[in-house]
Each structure stands twice: as structure tokens, then as C-alpha cells.
């Protein structure tokens, strides 16, 4: 140790003792984390649907932390840039990825060379919501139930077409086709809304889209939701049957959001983040907010959240195999 270093240590010693003393008192323990600004990472650009969600939670969590919560948008490469950034960030609890954990898990299967092994480098601190994908038909169509649609599609054979706009939609679409024994052709869109004109003009027989779009279109009376992809019905829309109930599939295809941190983050920080999110997500206001997007609250402790995450990674390997999605990259 150099002389300069030693003198520095000497000068710091009283401060260290003071800090140690404070750490013993129970009131001060909570002050250890957080003692600086917290960064929420959003992997989509500002103004996107995901950004809205991240901003909502940043607003709600901020007053609980007593620190500032800063949103950083690190978009690109289907979310991989942001995921990689968090995986490589310092594991101190100040970098929190607020994103679809199902999407993070899926990245291991959707890309040929995923930049990081998310199961080893990312840890779930708190869970936020769960939401299904939805099977939709034109509101004017005669198909009132999924059974009606299945029967009609069987008759139409490979002349039938359906729309998807996300890998999740592709998976649910493929699972439905396999389970129901139909041969419809998938037509991919960049955004769900791009498929609306074609669906309303009858060129498309049905579509498999995210709940935000599906709920809005049903509310405006343009489309009708026939089924959700989760194994159980959701509280947000209890009268919509599941694919499982209709005997199409046993799988629980569910999108879920979480607050995630780099692996190796100290447990006290993880517990603190979990506590904040439990409080925010558990509120009535958040329940209503999430229901607007067709989802339910998901309240798990960090260990259960991490379990779900690791299972999700395996589940996606299966999904990708079933739906024959070609990994990118």
C-alpha cells in the first residue's frame, strides 16, 4: 500500500466507523439501498406502448424510493441491446430492467446467437403482470365461438388466412392450428393495426394479436375476441374462454412483465425492489391500469419470479420448436 493510500485510509477511518455504527441501527439499514438514483431501462423507444408502461411504474415507484428514478431508453435489436446492457451492468440494484420477462426468456430461442445467457446473467426482482394473446374475428362474422371458427377453417382448408404481428402471436397461432387441426396460412404484419383493413374486408379469416390491440378493437365494436392464450381465464376479462378450455392446447402461453436486475445483485437490494413493486402493483389503481391492457397483476416474491423466469426460457425453446420459428441473427 502506498503512503498516499495509507494516509487516505487514515482519513477515511472515522467515516468508516461511523458508517458501520449506523448500519447496526435498524432505521439506518434501509438507507443502505438506495443511496443514489435508480435507472429503469426500457428496451423500446420513447413513446412506444412499452415505454408508457415503464414510465407508469417509474412514476409510482419514485416516491417510495426517496431517490430519483431515471428512465433510460435503450432500444434496438428486438430488445437485445437493452437486455445486454442490463446483463453487463454493475449488479448493485441501481440498474433495473422493466420489461416483459417472457420476452427476455424468449430471446434465448428467437436469436441464433443471443448476446448474453439471460438465465445466468439476469435475475427477476419483482413481477408485474400477466397477459394473454387473443384470437380475434371480425365483429360482423358469424363465428361466435372458437368452435365455430375452427369448423369454418377446417372447411376452408389451406385457403384460410390469419394475421399475426409478433413472435408470440406466431406461437399462439401455430399452437391453435396444431391443436384444432386446421391449415390456415399465416400472414405477418409489423403492427397489429396494419391488419385491420384486411381483416374487416374479409381477406383474413382471423387474427392472433396482443391484448392491448384486441381489447381496443373489441371495445370499438370492430373485432370480437374468441379466446385467450393463457391456461386460466384472467380477472381482467373473465368472460373470454381460454384455448385450454376449448381443448385446443394444454400450454399456458402468457406474456408477463417483471423488474429485473443483473445476476449477483445483493439480496437486500432485490428484496427492497420487490417490496416497492409489490406495493405499487398491488394497488387498485395499478390493477385498473393493467386491466386496460387486458392483463392481471402478478405478485410473486423474487425467488418464485426467478423460478418462473427459468421455466419460461425452457418453455420458449418448446414454443419455437412447435411453431417452427427460424432463429434470427
Amino acid at each position: 500500500m502506498s503512503i498516499a493510500m495509507q494516509s487516505l485510509m487514515r482519513r477515511l477511518a472515522p467515516a468508516a466507523i461511523l458508517a458501520a455504527a449506523l448500519a447496526v441501527s435498524p432505521g439506518a439499514r434501509a438507507q443502505q439501498y438506495p443511496n443514489q438514483d435508480i435507472h429503469f431501462i426500457c428496451v423500446f423507444p420513447p413513446g412506444s406502448g412499452a415505454d408508457v408502461l415503464v414510465r407508469y411504474f417509474a412514476e409510482k415507484v419514485r416516491p417510495l424510493t426517496g431517490k430519483n428514478v431515471i428512465i433510460e431508453n435503450r432500444s434496438g435489436a428486438g430488445g437485445n441491446i437493452g437486455i445486454e446492457y442490463v446483463a453487463r451492468a454493475k449488479p448493485d440494484g441501481y440498474t433495473v430492467l422493466v420489461h416483459g420477462a417472457s420476452g427476455v426468456a424468449a430471446s434465448m430461442s428467437l436469436f441464433k446467437n443471443p448476446p448474453v445467457d439471460v438465465g445466468k446473467t439476469i435475475q427477476v426482482a419483482a413481477t408485474i403482470n400477466r397477459q394473454p394473446f387473443m384470437v380475434l374475428v371480425d365483429a360482423k362474422s358469424p363465428h361466435k365461438t372458437l368452435a365455430d371458427l375452427t369448423a369454418a377453417m377446417k372447411a376452408k382448408g389451406d385457403k384460410a388466412s390469419y394475421a399475426t404481428a409478433a413472435p408470440f402471436g406466431t406461437v399462439v397461432g401455430e399452437v391453435y392450428k396444431l391443436g384444432a387441426g386446421i391449415k390456415a396460412r399465416e400472414v405477418t404484419y409489423k403492427n397489429a393495426v396494419d391488419s385491420l383493413n384486411e381483416q374487416l374486408s374479409g381477406v383474413l379469416d382471423y387474427s392472433v394479436h396482443d391484448p392491448v390491440y384486441a381489447m381496443a378493437q373489441q371495445r370499438e365494436g370492430r373485432l370480437r375476441i374468441l379466446a385467450v392464450s393463457t391456461a386460466e381465464r384472467l380477472k381482467a376479462n373473465p368472460d373470454i374462454p381460454t384455448l385450454k378450455e376449448q381443448g385446443v392446447s394444454e400450454l399456458n402461453m402468457m406474456g408477463w412483465w417483471a423488474a429485473m436486475v443483473p445476476a449477483g445483485t445483493p439480496q437486500p437490494a432485490i428484496d427492497q425492489i420487490n417490496k416497492w413493486f409489490m406495493q405499487v402493483v398491488g394497488s387498485d389503481e395499478t390493477r385498473e391500469f393493467l386491466a386496460k391492457f387486458g392483463g392481471d397483476q402478478l405478485l410473486l416474491d423474487s425467488a418464485k419470479g426467478q423460478d418462473l423466469f427459468l421455466k419460461e426460457i425452457e418453455l420458449w425453446r418448446e414454443f419455437v420448436k412447435i411453431s417452427k420459428i427460424e432463429p434470427q441473427g
Binding site: G47, G76, G78, L110, Y189, N197, E326
Partner: protein
């Protein structure tokens, strides 16, 4: 009355203090950059795009639109006073406007140009009210094949209306199409031209491209030219109001210019520049004594100034109803809307009527503001012209850099910006206009997506493009436009039109 209730919605949305404030900021900024030669609305809107992230969508569009037509106003001021067009759309105004100023009629020229522009702005706003809803109704019938044919028509017309050589315009569009291919293909999930770089998986970013090619290049271009002596006319401002005889001479050209501009603005590829040239040519052809033109004919100010403003307004119609940007500025506005999560197109009118009509209303408000701002502030704008560029340009460059970096805190984007700036400069040296490239870049991916989707839906049968009536009509129009390009007679007139 539908139009009235729609406009009421619009004025309600645009009339909030915040939005009025943004309209004012936009108009002031627009006038400012219009007055300053060298910095046009395209780089300004490009540079300001990142700022709009934090704003609410209507406020950001109101501000950007304000810049757009504010620039058209400001540009005419310097054209008349200093014989230096701040904007491409006011190049023709120089011809007679500056002559008028030299004869001591600067006030009259400025007033006619401002009032003519205001009149044109009002008519343009009404035009949007009248034509946007029926066009949007048609747009709701559009399926993938129709969109494909529409994009083809848009790109082909862009060739006709681009300045300079046809071959270069086609080349630029093709480069734009190629750049648009970079990224993940939505049909197969394959990545194209990404060279294993994950930043490219979502395609090239729009912002580094436009800021590099317009913002930075504009500065480089201006640095190449030494500060020219600016011959400002500051005296003789006492008679701001035109004489009765001026008004008599000007009102018909104003109406003609407005109508011409309104129509040309709607056409894909059209816009303010073309409208002003066309209006000037028409006035010259119609005049009893064409020799007066170039020597201070008031018609030569009134008609093009009205036309460029009317066209500025109506060029929003294809964007807002069909999602088709008709020129580079509209492509930027489209980018701004997409950044806000709004897919431009007929859906905007039904899903966000407050946004759509609010924007229409703000155009009228903006025009009114411009008249009020401009007439008393002319003296200040002229003073600004003497600001040394060695302060101005570094400041602009700084804003460019901050703007790009703040979008997703990724320093790779800086490299892209620099790369595009270099590329843009090379294009400039070869006299290639970057605007068609931007159109190709924006429309190309949409075109490909719709082409392939149509073929999936038809199970590979290309006749789908002729079987759907909308698509068939659009393709016939495309064929006609191509015929026009090939016809030698047309090529000659096109060259003449751009030479004046």
C-alpha cells in the same frame, strides 16, 4: 355541419395555452431559420425531432408544422430584402420581390407576400377540412395490394418532381430502397445486411440519417462558401401598406396561386417549391406584358408566395389520410408521428380526432400568428442576418449531436450520423438530391412488406394487383407518369420549369 363540429374539436385541442405556445415557438423558429439562409426547414425539423419525444403528440406536431410554414414566411422576407432566398420555396420571390424593394416598395412587397400567404393558409386549411375525410374514407378500403400500388406511384412521381437529372433521382430512390432493406425481414425473421452487428437488427435509424444528411451537410455546404456580402435594404420602411393599385394587381394572382398551390401540394412528390415555380410561370404566361416580370411586378411576388403557402398546408393531406409522405418534410413529420407511436393514415382521423383536427386548426392559428409576428418584426429579422456564422454553426452542430445521442444513449449512432454526413456530402458533390433517397428509405420497407403480404394472401398470384380496382387504378396512373417521364416533350418542359 360536420366540418364545423370537426373544426370546433380541433380548435378546442389546439387552443390550449400549451399548444398555442408550441405553435408560437414553432412559428418563431420557422421564421428564424427561414430568414437565415442555409438552414432550411428539413434540417431544423430533423434536429428538433428528439426534443419532441418528451412532448405530447399534438404539441410536437403543432410545433413541427409551425416550423414548416414559418420557414416559408421567413424565407420570403430575406428574398425580398436581401435578394437571398432563405428557402428553396422562395427562390422565385427574389426575382421580382427584390426589384420591388430596390424601387422602395419593400413594404408593399412584404405586406402582399404576408397577406397573400395568410389568405392561402386559410384556403389550404379549408381544403384539408373538405378533402381529408373523403380521402380517408377511401383509405379505409385500402388493402395490402392497394398500398403497394400507392407506394409505387408515390416513388415514381417523386422521380418526376425531383430537381435535376432523372437518372440521379432514380438512383437516389434505389439507394433509399436498399438502405430500407437493412434489418430483420418481418416475413421470415431473417436479418439482412446487418453484418452481424446487432444495432442494425431493427434497421437503420432514421434520425442519424436525416441529421447527418441534412443537418450536418447543410453546415459543411455553407462553410465552403465564404461569408458573402449581404446587400440588405433597411431603409424605406415607412410605407408598409400596399397602395390601392397594388391590391388591385395582386388579388387575382393570390387566388390563382392559392388554387394552384393547393392542388400541387396534394400530389405525391409535390410541395411548396414546385408550387411557387409553377405559380410564377403561370402569372408570367398570363400577363399582358410579360416583360414587366423581373423588374418588380407585384404579381411575381403575390402568386408564388400564396402558392408555396397553400402547398405547405395541403401536402399534409396525403400524409394524414393515406400515410403517404409527399415530400421529404412530410417524411420527417411521418417519422415524428411514428416516434410518438402514431401510425399516420386514415386511422388517425377516427382514433385520434383531437390530434387530427387539432393539427388542422393549429395550421390556421399558426398562419394568423405569422402575420402578426412578421409584419412588426421584419427589422429584427434583418438584423439577425448579420450574426456571424462562426457562432451559429457550432451551436447547430452541438444540437445535432445531442439530439442523436439522446434517442437511446448509444454512441454507435454518432458514427452513423458521421457516416451519413460524409455520404450526404459526397452526394452533394455529385449534385444528387438526398430527398428522393429519404422517400425511398421510408416507403421502401412499406412497399416490400405490402408486396410480399399481397402475394402471400393471393398464394403467389400477381394478378391480385390488377384485380383490386383501387390498386389497378393506381397502377394505371403509375404507367401514365412513367410515360410522361419517357416522353421527350415533357422532359424539356420539366427542365425549363426548374431552370427559371
Amino acid at each position: 355541419m360536420d366540418i364545423l363540429s370537426n373544426l370546433a374539436t380541433g380548435f378546442g385541442a389546439a387552443g390550449t395555452w400549451a399548444n398555442l405556445g408550441f405553435a408560437l415557438i414553432g412559428c418563431l423558429l420557422g421564421t428564424l431559420i427561414g430568414v437565415l439562409p442555409g438552414i432550411g426547414p428539413i434540417p431544423t425539423i430533423a434536429i428538433l425531432l428528439p426534443i419532441t419525444y418528451g412532448l405530447d403528440p399534438l404539441s410536437s406536431l403543432v410545433m413541427l408544422a409551425g416550423i414548416y410554414y414559418g420557414a416559408a414566411y421567413g424565407g420570403s422576407t430575406t428574398s425580398i430584402l436581401v435578394n437571398m432566398p432563405g428557402e428553396a420555396s422562395s427562390i422565385v420571390t427574389c426575382i421580382d420581390g427584390h426589384q420591388m424593394a430596390k424601387q422602395g416598395r419593400a413594404g408593399a412587397a412584404l405586406a402582399v407576400s404576408a397577406l397573400g400567404s395568410f389568405f392561402a393558409g386559410c384556403v389550404g386549411t379549408l381544403f384539408i377540412c373538405a378533402f381529408a375525410p373523403p380521402l380517408a374514407a377511401i383509405a379505409q378500403q385500402f388493402n395490402s395490394p392497394d398500398y403497394f400500388s400507392l407506394m409505387v406511384l408515390g416513388l415514381v412521381t417523386a422521380v418526376v418532381l425531383a430537381h435535376g437529372s432523372v437518372v440521379k433521382a432514380i438512383a437516389m430512390i434505389l439507394i433509399g430502397l436498399l438502405l430500407g432493406l437493412v434489418g430483420t425481414d418481418i416475413n421470415s425473421g431473417a436479418t439482412r445486411y446487418t453484418f452481424g452487428v446487432s444495432v442494425l437488427w431493427d434497421g437503420l435509424d432514421f434520425l442519424p440519417m436525416v441529421i447527418g444528411m441534412f443537418g450536418v451537410v447543410e453546415i459543411v455546404k455553407n462553410l465552403e462558401q465564404p461569408d458573402t456580402h449581404r446587400d440588405a435594404i433597411t431603409a424605406k420602411f415607412r410605407d408598409l401598406w400596399p397602395k390601392v393599385s397594388d391590391v388591385k394587381d395582386a388579388w387575382m394572382p393570390v387566388i390563382r396561386g392559392t388554387l394552384l398551390g393547393s392542388i400541387l401540394g396534394i400530389l405525391p412528390g409535390g410541395g411548396a417549391v414546385l408550387a411557387s415555380f409553377a405559380a410564377y410561370t403561370v402569372e408570367k404566361k398570363m400577363a399582358k406584358d410579360p416583360s414587366r416580370f423581373g423588374k418588380g411586378a407585384i404579381e411575381g411576388v403575390a402568386a408564388p408566395e400564396s402558392a408555396n403557402n397553400a402547398a405547405s398546408q395541403t401536402s399534409f393531406i396525403p400524409l394524414l389520410t393515406l400515410g403517404l409522405p409527399s415530400n421529404a418534410i412530410m417524411a420527417l413529420m411521418m417519422g415524428a408521428m411514428m416516434i410518438q407511436g402514431i401510425q399516420p393514415g386514415s386511422a388517425v382521423m377516427t382514433s385520434r380526432p383531437d390530434l387530427f383536427w387539432g393539427m388542422v386548426a393549429s395550421m390556421w392559428i399558426g398562419n394568423l400568428m405569422l402575420v402578426v409576428i412578421n409584419l412588426p418584426m421584419i427589422g429584427i429579422w434583418v438584423k439577425l442576418l448579420s450574426m456571424p456564422y462562426r457562432f451559429l454553426y457550432p451551436a447547430i452542430l452541438l444540437f445535432c449531436v445531442i439530439g442523436v445521442y439522446s434517442t437511446n444513449n448509444n454512441s454507435v449512432l454518432m458514427l452513423f450520423t458521421a457516416g451519413f454526413a460524409l455520404f450526404g456530402y459526397i452526394l452533394l458533390r455529385f449534385d444528387c438530391e438526398p430527398a428522393p433517397m429519404i422517400l425511398g428509405f421510408i416507403l421502401g420497407p412499406l412497399m416490400e412488406e405490402n408486396l410480399r403480404r399481397s402475394l402471400v394472401l393471393s398464394r403467389g398470384d400477381p394478378m391480385i394487383f390488377l384485380q383490386r380496382p383501387i390498386s389497378a387504378i393506381l397502377l394505371v396512373c403509375t404507367a401514365l407518369v412513367i410515360a410522361l417521364i419517357v416522353l421527350p416533350a415533357f422532359r424539356k418542359t420539366r427542365e425549363e420549369a426548374f431552370q427559371e
